[in-house]
Symmetry: C2
Subunit: 477 residues, 2 copies
Amino acid sequence: MSEADLKHDPMDHAEDTARQDAPESDSLDEDNRLKPEFVRSVKEALDEEDTDRVYDLVEGLHPADIADLFELVDERERLTLASSIRDLMGVEVIAELNDWVREALVEALPADVVAEIAEQLDTDDAVAMLEDLDEKDQQAVLAEMEPEDRAAIESALSYPEESAGRLMSRDFVAVHESMTVGDLIDFLREHRELPTEFWEVFIVDPMHRPIGTCSLSWILRTPRNIPLYDVMARDQTLIPADMDQEEVALRFQKYALISAAVVDPSGRLIGQITVDDIVHIIQEEAGEDALLLSGAGDGDINEPILLTVRARLTWLVVNLATAMLAASVVGLFQGAIAKFALLAVLMPIVSGMGGNAGTQTLAVAVRAIATNQLTDSNTVRMILREFRIALANGFALGLLIGVGTWLIFDNPLLGAVIASAMVINNLVAGLMGILVPLTLDKFNVDPAVSSAVFVTTATDTMGFFSFLGLAVVVGLA
Amino acid sequence: MSEADLKHDPMDHAEDTARQDAPESDSLDEDNRLKPEFVRSVKEALDEEDTDRVYDLVEGLHPADIADLFELVDERERLTLASSIRDLMGVEVIAELNDWVREALVEALPADVVAEIAEQLDTDDAVAMLEDLDEKDQQAVLAEMEPEDRAAIESALSYPEESAGRLMSRDFVAVHESMTVGDLIDFLREHRELPTEFWEVFIVDPMHRPIGTCSLSWILRTPRNIPLYDVMARDQTLIPADMDQEEVALRFQKYALISAAVVDPSGRLIGQITVDDIVHIIQEEAGEDALLLSGAGDGDINEPILLTVRARLTWLVVNLATAMLAASVVGLFQGAIAKFALLAVLMPIVSGMGGNAGTQTLAVAVRAIATNQLTDSNTVRMILREFRIALANGFALGLLIGVGTWLIFDNPLLGAVIASAMVINNLVAGLMGILVPLTLDKFNVDPAVSSAVFVTTATDTMGFFSFLGLAVVVGLA
């Protein structure tokens, strides 16, 4: 998925003076995004089917920007763009493409062309390209590939989706503990088929189990005659191949890793994961909370619109059911409302404010659970913390709205009722906002996905019930 | 902030066999979090002031886990913990501590002790430690420091908060273009004061302007007599020192960088940023959308509770004002509600569903803007996309609730009114959900911070107005 793990030949670099990522570029704005004028010129050239002009425009771009360009042009223009710049469509571009855009392009290409591209990609990128194809297309592509590449991809596909086994690269440098620094440098100079971009060397025992890692900087700074055994760090983070990618990302972050060894159940080194593959995942996993909490599903703007409608509508229909539940609470008080319609005017304030306060607590709790900050060790403290915050906010808001209501409608009893309801509903919001995600997490349900329904149901129903109920009890209607 | 940029001596590693990050650990659970039993033992030992036992328990932990432990014990136990494990409180622990926890610890320590710690930290970590102290304490600490370290920190503090200048490390390896691979290796072996952990070497011209970078893996694989000039990549991403850290994080991600040169306005190389410092920022910046959208402010569970209450209450009071605006719309229809109280029962469904749909669109738009996926080039396409989604969802939900209302209350006209209001409010939600964040972004206001208020105000008021207004127009009340 990333540029740095694509194979570079070190000798190639003297040539590529053309690409310069500089702010004074013709195609990029000051935020490093493709300029709208530039995108418009490309679109015009595409519309006129002027492939030479398209090529001239795109030629100078960095592969990551070519990938962005695919997202920015219209869907129907993407295939024309791909065929206009055929020899610029290198592995870097394919690896950087948005999943949805790549899937659509890949589906439009014949199996043998896809196989040809897949063979040039690193295994992890090839897997990302093929994993979303349907079974039949996938088999057709695999059948066209060289046996060795096919085996690597099939082995990767045998791991669960979003696991370390799918993410790992099978290109890494592992050497025996008996080597010296000098031996290693000679070995690296002689073996040109090794990956060119790597940051650490793994030291393995005779059973091919990792026993330490060496940063390249340590190797470069150490005299040739020193054994690697004396330079390596024994303190290493081993990633089991079936570990979920979110967990992998947390380890990379916690221990500030650059790369990590992936091991099979018997402890043998089978791959490596590098940090540049992880930054995408950290960003996606951290960013998806906002989307999941809102029920926006995948949230990718390139997702086919029918899938988007289905994902969002499912969530909205669930919420419709809970809204009807809340409405039925109001229904219990129709008589009171008919007598004193002002109740209907004020009741959405109580339920709405509860919803806002609950969403705040929920957002905090979901982030803290996702980042391993909220664990069994501090659960009680955090529940008490949210309780105190809810109490403070409830009293402050209750006072404001209570006094306001009293003064505006000259009705102190109505003011007292709405103030009390506000305190009650803030407490409901605060407690549900933290207890719901904690409970879901206990049952291994992602709290970001389904907490909001429970919390807003609680704040809506309790908001209406406490306000209207109190009003009836004190004889306002 | 991170472990990898702390200075390691390569020769030290043979000793540290003790730390092993393995799932079978006594202190860590299967998700790599400290076990509650373990934290409880530490807390018991702290309560009994049994410092030896505390030391024994903590001794085997990784610095990142010691930092986590500080978060998990109660606030009043943290100072005792720090003094019980004084010589384990290495720079790695300080660098990994949560900002709030560190700030509280640092404030409790005398200025000369803080100065001593700061001198051992890398500049970026020292800045993180000192930047939140108030002016007076900061000056007291700086006065205790060696002139050279003080100058580096003062220079970092002269850059805006959250800029590349604060984030960068002043330890990096830059060499002249005339060197060969062999010269560089000799240079690295001779200069022990260089940073031990680095991933790329910067090649500079006589004016100290970066002209290329060399991955260490290329250097290790290239014969000694080859000039660096022929190995280096000329294609580099230069970071201006005043660039915002969010922008820096986007560049690292887009171009899959491991490290990048930071330059001053004249183009001179003044520092480097490495990816391990960036993963925290990527995670924070991506994760904060969920918190900002909900108005939960910083959202860190270690934030002092009074600051949390103030941040959340500010947001809630703003929302109270908008809730009162929505209520005043209902107020216009009090007469109608008194005549036909069922309207009050159904109206929250329309406003609530609009709120949900608006939040979905908003979450998607805010993420797409933050990740540079939504730019001027595809704005119109995305607005049309949201319009189509809103239309589809509006009709589906309108049909459901319309038919439901008709059947339950045996009132086809009421069903038609609520169905129409649902379509209208979904369109309002979809359009506001994308137009509000786009507009705020145009005026350089962070759309995550203030969009939600405008969107929910629109869906609340339009929900009530369209439903109650239509009901009156068709003569239901």
